[in-house]
């Protein structure tokens, strides 16, 4: 009887037997999808890195590829390249220390004191990382450059000479450090917040004073996160392009990224040398990450339980206004001051002439260059941000929700470019696609492909963190209710991760719209972006035009970001 019944109600797939009989199990079909995902991501994220490494040791000779160490030898034998590597290390360590000091102070003030408007201030204090490095550096050129620096003019007039010179090691370290400090701040702030307050209470009960508690308990407990934040700052710093070029090259302080730029300006450029220099950057960031792993082994005290602790707030009386003014001073130096100065520069006939003009602003809609590069920037940004988010969602779902074998591999491939500086990664992208028979090179597509590969890890991380908070049973119950995989995604998963999807899109959008170092090795005259236009304008010394172009970029980046997050927040409030 049982066989009869089974035959009768057999699964509806029976109508296409050949296909399903060969792969009866769902896990086989899943494996197929996983392989496909891996292949796509390998093309985006892995192959450029391989191409970069290979390119350092391969030259074309008479139409065929040969293995050679000539590029490595050249780089090793010339002191200029050694000096660049040295400069990168010195400047990055300096900026890292500055960023760590500022970041820890900010985090402590924001989380542990009763500073007025702590919530708002914390949001504002992350703003500097959304100022593109090129624009931040440019603002500081306007402030602290010899001869034209706004700060130097009155001092010179009063006979004090020129107190500031931004074109120095100190200037570089200062400008890089203040802009990457928020990374340290965010990591340390969350550690301070997740720290069990009873650890400190126990210390005070045991007889330690407040200051002793801070130095003997609090600092050691959050030390691992200070270290993590510092390494992150270091890795970001070695890969920076805009700041070292703007501030270093004038007085011939070349960092590795600036050297790469110089090599690319040669004709014909020596791609071998460029590749070896890019490998330098990769090695530096790998070393930093290894050192961090070594320093942190077995020391992650702060377990993120997801359990919200109420941090112990230190009640300051008048001191809270001192603390607030420290934070406002930081914002003044990184965001408010620079924006005011850029606005002022963009409405001056030339830098600090004191004469007012609309011409530089009008340039934005009158110039054909602005129109075409703006169009390119928008296309590239919107397509790349959307593709990055969709791919990120797929990868997150596979790694967080399935037990497919090989899903960790997928995750590793995606996270790999995260520690590779953009400029190096972009070079790898250009090498890889030059070898490929399809003509992607020279179009906007190669820029889009490069951005996806470099930044997909960002959206994977932010979407995964939201996805793992959504209990798998929410999806499983939809399957039990009778929805297939697709409908479950559409009706349950997507609505629940939508906020993360939007914020991930906005995040990569704000990076892409003003990305300079990724675009630099990949653009051609037909695919110039707004960031390239303002870089070229800087190179010819039209500072007032650079200022108005920077304003446009800030508006497109930070402005749109603020607008979208504001709208979605309103919608969330309306929905609940």
């Amino acid at each position: 009887m049982s066989t009869e019944t089974t035959a009768h109600v057999g699964p509806p797939q029976g109508e296409m037997p050949s296909l399903f009989k060969r792969s009866p199990s769902r896990s086989l079909r899943q494996a197929g999808w996983l392989t496909l995902a891996c292949m796509v991501l390998a093309v985006f994220s892995l192959f450029p890195l391989i191409a970069l490494v290979v390119r350092g040791f391969v030259e074309t000779e008479g139409g065929r590829l040969i293995l050679t160490f000539s590029a490595v030898k050249t780089v090793m034998s010339q002191s200029g390249y050694w000096f660049a590597a040295w400069n990168t290390v010195v400047v990055s360590i300096g900026s890292m220390i500055l960023a760590a000091v500022i970041g820890v102070i900010l985090a402590w003030c924001l989380v542990r004191t009763n500073v007025p408007f702590a919530r708002l201030l914390e949001q504002l204090a992350t703003m500097p990382i959304f100022i593109p490095p090129f624009i931040g550096a440019f603002a500081w050129v306007l402030i602290g450059a010899p001869r034209i620096g706004l700060f130097n003019l009155p001092a010179k007039g009063l006979g004090f000479g020129e107190p500031l010179d931004i074109y120095t090691y100190t200037g570089l370290i200062w400008t890089i450090g203040i802009y990457i400090a928020p990374y340290v701040m965010m990591i340390v702030a969350s550690a301070l917040r997740n720290m069990d307050p009873s650890l400190e209470e126990a210390a005070q009960v045991a007889g330690l004073s407040r200051v002793q508690t801070m130095f003997r308990i609090t600092l050691p407990v959050v030390a691992p996160s200070i270290l993590s934040g510092s390494v992150l700052a270091f890795v970001i710093s070695i890969g920076l392009f805009g700041t070292p070029v703007l501030l270093g090259m004038t007085k011939e302080i070349y960092l590795v990224t600036a050297r790469i730029y110089l090599e690319l300006q040669q004709f014909p450029p020596s791609f071998g040398i460029v590749a070896v220099l890019a490998i330098y950057l990769m090695i530096l960031s790998v070393i930093a990450n290894l050192l961090q792993g070594w320093a942190l082994r077995g020391r992650s005290f702060v377990t993120v339980t997801g359990k919200g602790f109420r941090p112990r707030i230190i009640q300051l009386a008048a001191g809270r206004y001192v603390v607030a003014s420290i934070i406002w001073l930081y914002l003044l130096l990184t965001v408010i001051g620079p924006i005011i100065i850029i606005v002022a520069a963009s409405v001056s006939t030339y830098t600090w002439s004191g004469k007012f003009t609309w011409n530089n602003i009008a340039f934005l809609w009158e110039s054909q260059d602005v129109r075409s590069t703006l169009w390119n920037s928008l296309i590239i940004t919107i397509l790349a941000a959307s593709a990055t988010t969709v791919l990120g969602l797929i990868v997150s779902w596979i790694t967080a929700r399935t037990r497919m074998r090989g899903r960790q591999f997928l995750e590793h491939v995606v996270l790999l470019p995260m520690s590779v500086p953009s400029l190096a990664f972009a070079l790898g992208v250009s090498f890889f696609w030059l070898w490929v028979p399809w003509s992607v090179y020279g179009t906007v597509w190669i820029i889009i492909i490069g951005l996806i590969g470099r930044y997909i890890s960002y959206s994977v991380r932010s979407i995964t963190s939201s996805l793992i908070q959504i209990h798998p049973e929410l999806e499983e119950s939809a399957r039990i209710s009778g929805f297939g995989w697709g409908s479950t995604m559409w009706r349950v998963t997507l609505p629940l991760v939508l906020p993360a999807i939007i914020s991930s899109w906005v995040m990569v959008y704000s990076i892409f719209i003003s990305e300079l170092s990724m675009v630099l090795p990949l653009y051609t005259t037909s695919s110039r972006t707004l960031s390239i236009l303002s870089f070229d304008t800087w190179a010819v010394g039209e500072f007032s035009l650079v200022a108005s172009l920077s304003l446009l970029q800030l508006l497109l980046g930070v402005g749109v970001m603020w607008f979208v997050t504001h709208i979605t927040k309103q919608r969330q409030i309306a929905a609940t």
Partner: protein, 357 residues
């Protein structure tokens, strides 16, 4: 008409979560899958649901194979026509109460007006009629539990799976919901597979209990069978408290006498299971089965070491010549530490494990 599992196997890496399991769950009954964590009960449930793909074996629901490795049958969960209540309730936070409950009907393309009618009916059954348009997240734990039960019932599933549904509720509410599930089941005579690690819940709720250990069913049967007539020591120790000790059975004219070893005091005499053969065996006496009498009476002499008053009963820890025993007494007789007692047991309450001395 039942749920049948044949030769089911599932491994996670090196761990055998289900080990060649063959078992039948009767329809129209509550079958409780009971066991310690990691015993394979939840994995079995998830395999039946289709949320986990087994390594091999067969699963038949009402004689229809939903999974059969040999024939390559593996229905996805949405085709199996089941209802499931999850431990976390799995209430979709972006939908209202009615939205949650209507989802299974929407999935099966039920016409709109019928959806509205059936959602209303089902919400009435679980007593949430006035909460239909509320956001599901605004409800209390117990109410969310009801939403999740309503969602599970609304599609008239042929089989209802419950995965530790009461473990997130507080103790009082848990007992209440237990009764409600029982009543509900009696009303619609549904087939329910209920996973729990709580033995009290299992015994009060189950028509049949399936006790799992290491991916297999160690014993199945009505709760009383498992409690009073466990087949192996593991069952005796898992369900409730058990005094376990070796005894010698000596046949006599009334049947047999049972003497505790090694000291040899007779704890019971009368008609004993298999009392005709003289032998040694492992014996189990439940704490509440001990009959307590004063010092000097026949039986196992006991010295009270600890008295715990738990409202409706007293729990005594006593020392005896065969080692410490637990005794539970009901009623108003008081005991204090240092009291000397004698323990005996009714012949049918001294359970013998044959061949496990």
């Amino acid at each position: 008409m039942s749920v049948r599992v044949e030769g089911l196997t599932k491994t996670f890496g090196h761990l055998r979560a289900i080990d060649d399991l063959s078992v039948t769950f009767q329809s129209g009954k509550i079958s409780v899958l009971l066991g310690a964590s990691g015993c394979g009960k939840t994995t079995t449930l998830r395999c039946i649901a289709g949320l986990e793909t087994p390594d091999g074996g067969e699963i038949l629901i009402e004689n229809e194979a939903v999974y059969a490795s040999a024939r390559g049958v593996d229905q996805p969960p949405e085709k199996r026509r089941l209802g499931m209540v999850f431990q976390s309730y799995a209430i979709w936070p972006h939908l209202t109460v009615a939205g949650n409950v209507s989802m299974p009907l929407q999935a099966h393309k039920v016409p709109k007006d019928e959806i509205a009618r059936r959602v209303k009916e089902t919400l009435a059954i679980v007593g949430l009629s006035d909460q239909a348009e509320k956001s599901a997240m605004k409800l209390s734990g117990g109410q969310q539990q009801r939403v999740s039960i309503a969602r599970c019932l609304v599609g008239n599933p042929r089989l209802i799976l419950m995965d530790e549904p009461l473990s997130n509720l507080d103790a009082k509410l848990r007992v209440e919901m237990r009764q409600e599930i029982r009543h509900l089941q009696e009303r619609i005579s549904a087939t329910i597979l209920f996973v729990t690690h709580d033995q009290e819940e299992a015994m009060s709720l189950g028509d049949e209990i399936f006790l799992f250990d290491k991916g297999r069913v160690v014993q199945k049967g009505p709760p009383e069978d498992l409690y009073f007539r466990p087949v192996v020591r593991y069952v005796a120790e898992f369900l409730g408290k058990a005094n376990l000790f070796n005894v010698e059975i000596r046949p006599d004219k009334d049947g047999a006498s049972v003497a505790a070893l090694p000291s040899g005091e007779v704890i019971t005499r009368g008609s004993i299971q298999g009392g005709a053969t003289e032998r040694e065996a492992l014996c189990m006496v439940r704490p509440e089965s001990w009959r307590v009498s004063g010092q000097g009476e026949a039986g196992l002499p006991a010295l009270v070491r600890e008295v715990m008053f738990v409202g409706d009963r007293r729990e005594l820890r006593v020392d005896t010549p065969i080692g410490p025993q637990i005794v539970v007494t009901y009623g108003y007789q008081r005991f204090s530490v240092g009291d000397r007692l004698s323990l005996t047991v009714a012949p049918d309450l001294a359970h013998l494990f044959e061949g496990q001395a």
